[in-house]
């Protein structure tokens, strides 16, 4: 094998991808149109794709290559963000677009696909490298993997073969295990790339840079200085036409089981010895395995499920979840979920991690607030209504994921004037302002990494299992709820009152993001 490419200059331009083909199953779906193909076009615009790169769309609908090119052109023009559309570049990109109609349940379709991949590979010099992307219903993952495996398309004898799947990785612990068995019958774990697009966000990656690139914070990053941590992922919108899907999923499965536990692991994991895929993922997995699993009798004290009811927001009436299209009027799905977690290790013992997520909340925001301990001895007090009140407030470090990505530190400062009254002030770092350049979309980062064979930002099977171990006991208890408990919060609010009570039991309150 020849050695490394001596012409690379990592200070100026990044590692190139080997020529390859991406096969997208579900090529007529929304994800392909809105995210995948625009992200790949953007990578071409950034000169990140190799010569000969090709995309093969697979779906049941009969389409010619040219029909597919026409549809993808419309999608790129509509959904390309912060980038111009370049006609000449598109013409070249489109020459690498192909389409193959086929049914995932039909073995013959995979034989045909295999022959097409051979022909395209020869024509475009891709050397047998193929990345399969399952942008399909989760129920199709196992049949698709089986179809690929039986047709010999998962074998890596001529080039690499990788498979990307989207969450959810199972509907519960049992189905996650069944999916794993089905996938591993045809693909090695190293060939599997489980996308959690939250991990592809620049600001989530920046958490690692912040923690492990700045030695002043790490000594404080433990139970001795941190009082508790709050992770909020709020959406102001409702289910927006995804009622049928969401009714089956719910907030706990849709957000906490994957995205937010991964974010929590990123905030709390130990530093790895090297910044390499297996080392970073080992640390993340170790942390997930350290989360305390609630016993059935502890679940209700430490978790809260909610569902929004109808309300008027700013003069506009919005429906409750049960009034949304394709949602049952007696649905018991959680549109809000909050949970208290503890990490059972020396660094984090007894530090509560409060996580909440919900739909139809007052605004769209995702952030992590690290609340430090109060001063050990109070110096600065004022007399209010005859009582002495401490005016120094605890420091809070907020890592903002979206929108307006950045980091803020709240600290106390003397209020100008006579006396010694302290007032909280905020020191802000704004990611967008400090780096005026465009940040890549999560799918650009993740697709590029998969083509490079870098799985650092992808979820591994042991991480999936560890997350389900944490979430499954909660789901079990929640499934026994009576249907008169919902709705329990008005659209446009920060969730049910019981969520506030959950924190109040430990003397804490939710901050307002």
């Amino acid at each position: 094998m020849p050695g490394d490419n001596p012409f690379l200059d990592p200070q100026r331009f990044e590692r190139r991808i080997e020529p390859c083909i991406i096969v997208i199953f579900g090529a007529n779906g929304d994800l392909t149109k809105r995210k995948l193909v625009p992200a790949l076009y953007r990578l071409a615009y950034e000169r990140r794709l190799p010569p000969g790169f090709a995309i093969v769309g697979v779906s049941r609908t009969k389409l010619s290559d040219d029909d597919f090119r026409g549809k993808m052109r419309e999608s790129v023009q509509e959904f390309l963000e912060n980038s111009p559309f370049d006609e000449t570049l598109w013409q070249e990109f489109a020459r690498g677009l192909y389409y193959e109609s086929g049914d995932i349940g039909d073995a013959a379709s995979f034989e045909v696909l295999g022959k097409r991949l051979d022909a395209i590979g020869t024509e475009r010099g891709t050397g047998g490298n193929v990345l399969f992307y399952l942008s399909t219903q989760p129920s199709q993952y196992a049949p698709a993997a089986a179809g690929l495996g039986k047709a010999g398309l998962s074998k890596q004898d001529k080039g690499w073969r990788r498979l990307i799947i989207e969450k959810p990785f199972g509907h519960d612990q049992q189905s996650a295990k069944a999916l794993e068995v089905a996938l591993h019958q045809h693909f090695e774990e190293q060939q599997l790339y489980r996308i959690d697009h939250y991990l592809g966000k620049e600001t989530v990656q920046n958490i690692l840079a912040f923690r492990f690139g700045n030695p002043i914070f790490e000594p404080l990053w433990n139970r001795n200085y941190i009082n508790h941590v709050q992770i909020t992922a709020a959406e102001s919108i409702g289910v927006e036409g995804r009622g049928a899907y969401y009714q089956e999923a719910g907030a706990l499965r849709d957000m906490i089981q994957n995205h937010l536990l991964q974010v929590m692991a990123t905030v709390t994991m130990e530093p790895s010895a090297v910044f390499e895929s297996s080392a970073v993922r080992d640390e993340r997995a170790k942390l997930l395995r350290s989360i305390r699993i609630w016993k059935p009798e502890e679940v209700m004290q430490n978790t809260v499920a909610g569902q929004y009811g109808p309300a008027s927001i700013g003069g506009t009436s919005v429906p409750g979840f049960r009034q949304e299209a394709n949602v049952s009027p007696t649905s018991m799905t959680d549109t809000f979920a909050a949970a208290t977690f503890f990490v059972e290790n020396w660094r984090w013992a007894d530090v509560p991690f409060y996580i909440r997520t919900g739909k139809r909340m007052p605004k769209r925001v995702t952030d992590i607030a690290i609340r430090f301990n109060s001063v050990p001895h109070s110096l600065f007090k004022t007399i209010t209504d005859g009582e002495q009140v401490e005016t120094a407030r605890p420091n809070v470090l907020v890592l903002r994921i979206q929108p307006e990505e950045g980091i803020s530190l709240r600290f106390s400062s003397k209020q100008p004037g006579a006396g010694m009254t302290l007032r909280p002030v905020s020191m802000d770092f704004n990611y967008g302002s400090s780096f005026g350049v465009r940040t890549p979309a999560a799918y650009e980062t993740l697709l590029l990494d998969a083509m490079l064979g870098d799985a650092t930002l992808y979820t591994r099977q042991d991480m999936v299992e560890a997350s389900w171990s944490v979430v499954q006991p909660i789901l079990n208890e929640w499934s026994a709820r009576k249907d008169d408990v919902f709705p329990n919060y008005d659209a446009g609010t920060w969730g049910p009152k019981t969520s506030d009570e959950m924190l109040a039991r430990r003397g804490h309150t939710w901050r307002v993001p």
């Binding site: 490419n5 200059d9 080997e18």
Partner: protein, 329 residues
């Protein structure tokens, strides 16, 4: 006795007042306030009004990506005893944000005989604890002895060697400064990045990496009859990686843009080339297969952004510079 003077403390006070005014102005319009962003002090040295105006515009654009305190040093070679200053801020609303982002600019105009006074004033104006960069926009200043004290202000000096007519002179001066301990950056080297990236792409293929020891010829087509510094850099960079290759220069008949026009690499019957097929596009040909790469226009701002994004030593550049001189003859 000089009749004019600039006072760093006065300038800093004016800056402080400027920020207070900006805050009040913005508060009157919205409650969001302005953000002051600073990551460096950028000194920009120019001689002549034309360079000064374009450099000022470039600095303003650059501040979006590298916010900092820009100090424009506008030298006026043909006058004597002039020294004056003014301060202002450049603000913009980043896309999708609610707060204005502002960077401060100081402009000092001076005759060449007042350089020592400029130096002493600037010493008090650089932002503490942050790097000081010097962009010598008017390259001829680098060859004036009276300019030397200003070089001492910065660890990193940025020039554009394409402005210097004689490549030997340009490369020798850059080498001298590196030998004296400065970290040098040349915008003319940054112009080659996309070319180098395209060439690197050829060698991403295993079969081309296997050919490296047997590549016997590299041909560089360039504009004009003289071999410019960019062609020298490219020749040196390629030669250091292709031990058996003989580098040939040819004068391109039809040229689309400045500088380099094409690079052709051959190893027996195997051929690869990178060619400027229009002013904003490169075509990469590898064994008969074509691929296009966008080559957006490289403004000074884009080139400076690239150079300022590299922190620390740029080994590739320094290595290529070291042997570039042999190609000027």
């Amino acid at each position: 006795m000089p009749t004019t003077a600039v006072h760093p403390e006065q300038i800093l006070k004016e800056l402080a007042n400027l920020w207070v005014d900006l805050g009040k102005e913005d508060a009157a319009k919205s409650s969001n306030g302005v953000i002051r962003a600073c990551s460096m002090t950028l000194l920009i040295a120019t001689a002549g009004d034309e360079d000064a105006e374009s450099a000022s515009e470039t600095a303003a654009e650059l501040m979006r990506q590298h916010p900092g305190r820009a100090i424009s040093l506008r030298f006026q070679p043909d006058v004597i005893d002039v020294l004056d200053s003014r301060v202002y801020a450049r603000c913009w609303m980043p896309y999708g944000q609610h707060q204005q982002l502002c960077s401060e600019q100081i402009e000092i105009s001076a005759s060449m005989d007042r350089i020592p006074d400029v130096y002493s004033a600037v010493l008090g104006l650089s932002v503490p604890d942050l790097p000081v960069m010097l962009w010598v926009k008017t390259a001829s200043l680098l060859f004036r002895r009276e300019f030397d004290p200003l070089l001492r202000m910065a660890r990193t000096v940025i020039i554009d060697s394409s402005q210097i007519a004689e490549p030997t002179v340009a490369l020798q001066r850059v080498q001298e400064l590196i030998a004296s301990g400065w970290r040098m950056k040349d915008l003319n080297w940054a112009r080659l990045t996309i070319w180098r990236e395209a060439i690197a792409q050829v060698f991403e293929q295993d079969s081309w990496r296997e050919l490296i020891p047997s590549i016997d010829e590299v041909t560089l087509s360039h504009r004009g009859s003289d071999i410019a510094t960019d062609a020298c850099y490219m020749a040196s960079w390629l030669a250091s990686r292709l031990p058996a290759a003989k580098v040939k220069f040819v004068n391109a008949a039809d040229t689309l843009n400045e500088g380099l026009q094409a690079v052709a690499i051959s190893a027996g019957v195997r051929q690869a080339s990178v060619t400027a097929t229009d002013p904003e596009r490169l075509t990469v040909e590898i064994d008969g297969m074509y691929h296009q790469m966008l080559m957006p226009p490289r403004t000074d701002e884009a080139l400076l952004h690239e150079e300022l994004s590299i922190l620390g030593k740029d080994c590739s550049f320094e290595q290529s510079l070291a042997n570039a001189l042999i190609y000027t003859q």
